[in-house]
Symmetry: C2
Subunit: 195 residues, 2 copies
DNA sequence: GTCTATACAAAGATAGAC
DNA sequence: GTCTATCTTTGTATAGAC
């Protein structure tokens, strides 16, 4: 994570809108015109803040990724939390997305079109995924060590399953419109962790 | 499902290529030019077989959906199979996709860009999803009734979790490139079914 | 920083010859 | 059925005025 200088208000608004558009429609299905319509400035003006669509996409992923990573680090550092508490913190954003119509995790959305993404974005999405998996594996291992969790597969297998299940649940929930999808999945995952 | 007449070879080849392109790049990120390049006919000629891109997309989904539905019906009708056998049959295509680089389930791919899809396609993707969920719920219920399965959530919750986990696993596997993702998830799901 | 104007490429689609 | 040619729209991007 390189240290980025402070950004202008307009640049931040562009990032907000772009993030929302990617989460709802995907990277390849949104245009500068869409941002222009919502922000009220001409699409050419967007290029003043972000030289290219690729640069904008990269900035969106980096901002999102940095915020998420920071939050996860804070959760992990809190020694007063049980492993299950940490897992509950982790699922918080997923529950929020599930309650927001048509919205999925940014990187889940981008993962769906990973091969149609500029390489600069692809690398960052991959790195973000791997960060999630590594974090979950550490939390799972912690729960096992403390005697909170008990299951019959490896920690890595459990972490992967949980991550995939949560990402998949967002996908399914948006398509079927069934908001109970997410809470069902979390319930099953928690039952699974405790054996 | 309306009864479609037999299609020409070229039309079938177009469908094959379009299906592959949607599975790897997504609907909005492929063009008639991509098909033209691979098939060796000019892009205008594609319009002879499919009037519009929407019509082509619909045809791809319907063919895929019909094939999948038929296969699932056959599995379900086979009384000699245990519920776990049926689940193993169900996961077959997922395991295949997981072993094919860069390929995911067609409808998982389309689900990622559902809001950026023509309505005609959206409806069909939604229906296909609901068919999967209903089928899984029936198989799960069957396993419970026969004493094969045992778990602490409802049949519907279990079916949703399994479907989401499998779709999510394909997504994660493609992004991380880790082919063991799918077998890990299936292993966990099976452990979960048997309590 | 935002505007108008414009360049340039690619997309989906149609018309008509062969 | 496939071709060439063309139309129209949309997309990303740049130049230069304000």
């Amino acid at each position: 994570m390189s240290a980025k200088g402070p950004r202008s208000n307009t640049a931040e608004e562009i990032l907000d809108i772009a993030e929302m558009l990617i989460q709802t429609r995907g990277y390849n299905a949104f245009s500068f015109q869409d941002i222009s319509d919502r922000l009220g400035i001409r699409k050419a003006s967007i290029h003043y803040h972000f030289a290219s669509k690729t640069a904008l996409g990269v900035a969106v992923v980096e901002r999102y990724s940095a915020g998420f990573t920071e939050a996860l680090q804070a959760v992990e550092a809190d020694e007063t939390k049980s492993a299950m508490d940490m897992f509950d913190c982790y699922t918080g954003p997923y529950r929020e997305f599930a309650d927001t119509p048509d919205r999925v995790c940014l990187c889940g959305a981008l993962a769906g079109e990973i091969l149609a993404l500029p390489v600069e974005m692809r690398e960052r999405v991959e790195a973000f995924f791997k960060m999630h998996l590594a974090w979950l594996k550490r939390i799972v291992a912690r729960g096992v060590k403390r005697g909170e969790f008990e299951f019959s597969v490896t920690n890595g297998q459990m972490a992967r399953t949980m991550f995939g299940a949560l990402q998949g649940a967002l996908l399914v929930k948006r398509t079927t419109g069934d908001s109970s999808q997410m809470s069902d999945v979390i319930k099953v995952l928690k039952a699974q962790l405790t054996g």
